[in-house]
């Protein structure tokens, strides 16, 4: 009996050890990717803040409200870009994004552009209308693909196929904390709704658009959207690696604890079987 339990324990130890090797390796991969992703968000975050504020300024000071980019009266259909990861094993990273987006979406009439394999699978399972699943691998997404998405959705917006555009991503606060967030990209009236009083009281300077505000907006809105999208993708990627690193770190720690525990049991069983053998031998020698 003692021998079979010893064998069982040593088998379990071996299997946990190999699991630990995998989680350890994933932890290392995630942390090396994380440091690259962190460099990327430092750059894109700068762009994000400056351009977002500049856009706010431009819109708050623009008196001509005829541009289709600024106002949309009837919101019939909204489009959500949801950014999640390609793989699981990242703690609650993916499910947090989905839970947050389900809350945000509510009962609206929407379609979705999922980014990341998990997002594509999730929304296909939920039978949402999907704009395109071309961008399913988030790690392969480059600035060019963000421009494609920006142009595609701006087109849809101008053709009135969609009336609102949001992006849901995960903001990277630190390696330990990531927060799902939503940004409204179109129409561009966020500053007006949020800063209504400020807009009225501050001495508004009328901005000169050349050649005209229509032409300028036509040209800068797609690149504004792709820029915002790129920074959202960068944040999400960093969050994914951060979440995976933390999850794998605790998995490795748990594995080590289990190994320690089982080793103790194994040694005890070994000791027990030796003691028993000695007792048997002494008893058998007929002293």
């Amino acid at each position: 009996m003692a021998e079979s339990s010893m064998k069982d324990i040593s088998l379990r130890i071996r299997s946990i050890k190999s699991t630990k090797q995998i989680t350890k390796a994933m932890e290392l991969v995630a942390s090396s990717k994380l440091s690259k992703a962190k460099e990327r968000i430092e750059k894109s975050r700068l762009f994000h803040t400056i351009v977002y504020n500049a856009m706010d300024d431009i819109i708050a000071n623009n008196e001509e409200m005829s541009s289709p980019y600024l106002f949309r009266k009837d919101i019939k259909k909204s489009c959500y870009i949801v950014i999640a990861g390609d793989r699981g094993l990242a703690g609650g990273y993916n499910s947090n994004v989905f839970r947050f987006s389900t809350e945000q979406i509510g009962n609206k009439n929407i379609n979705i552009l999922p980014i990341g394999k998990r997002a594509v699978e999730f929304y296909r399972r939920q039978n949402y209308e999907i704009v395109t699943d071309e961008y399913s691998i988030i790690e392969n997404l480059n600035i060019g693909s963000c421009h494609e998405i920006g142009n595609l959705l701006t087109d849809c917006y101008l053709k009135e196929e969609i009336d609102e555009l949001y992006v849901i991503y995960t903001k990277f606060l630190s390696t330990l904390t990531q927060q799902p967030e939503i940004i409204k990209l179109l129409p561009l009236d966020h500053s007006i709704t949020e800063n209504q009083d400020i807009g009225k009281n501050s001495n508004r300077e009328n901005i000169l658009f050349e050649p005209s505000s229509g032409v300028v907006f036509n040209s800068i809105v797609p690149s504004y959207i792709s820029g915002m999208l790129w920074s959202a993708v960068s944040e999400s990627l960093a969050s994914e690696f951060g979440a995976r690193r933390t999850a794998m770190e605790s998995a490795s720690k748990n594995a080590q604890e289990m190994i320690d525990d089982l080793s103790l049991k194994y040694n005890r069983a070994r000791q027990g079987s030796i003691t028993q053998e000695i007792t048997e031998i002494i008893a058998g020698s007929g002293l």
């Binding site: 400056i50 300024d57 690149s223």
Partner: protein
């Protein structure tokens, strides 16, 4: 001469953050030069050379600046470009090859609208880059 605060930012980070005397660049509407005290102004950037004059005496710093927008407010002048490369960062050989590739597509009689559009855009971008190098080093470009 008066100076103003100039910021040049792209998705690859900040390229310039400091005072300048004049900045000239190509918009979709033609070339503009911005001096201190300019009225609040917004325009879309085309594809061309951007020159930053830091001091009265200095030669301008040249860069290829493509896409995005230029905004002038009371506080600062902001260039939020899609592509921004200082002359010394531009890969001359690569731009030259890109120009040849685009030209061969355009002259090959490939009639697919989409490919021609892309080739045209690539050609303007490559030309803008080559022009910057030509201007800063006086290399003849054929």
């Amino acid at each position: 001469m008066n100076k103003f605060h100039l910021q040049i930012v792209t998705l690859d980070g900040m390229f310039y953050d400091g005072d300048a005397r004049q900045v000239s660049l190509r918009t979709i509407h033609g070339d503009v030069a911005i001096l201190a005290g300019h009225v609040p102004y917004v325009t879309a950037i085309g594809a061309g050379e951007c020159r930053v004059y830091e001091n009265d005496t200095d030669q301008p710093r040249r860069a290829a600046c493509i896409g995005g927008f230029l905004s002038v407010t009371k506080e600062k002048v902001l260039i939020a470009a899609t592509t921004f490369e200082w002359a010394e960062q531009i890969d001359y050989e690569r731009a030259k090859k890109a120009k040849e590739r685009a030209e061969s597509i355009l002259s090959s009689g490939d009639t697919a609208e989409y490919r021609r559009e892309v080739a045209k855009i690539k050609l303007t971008r490559a030309k803008a880059r080559l022009k910057v190098i030509e201007n800063s080093k006086n290399i003849a470009v054929h």
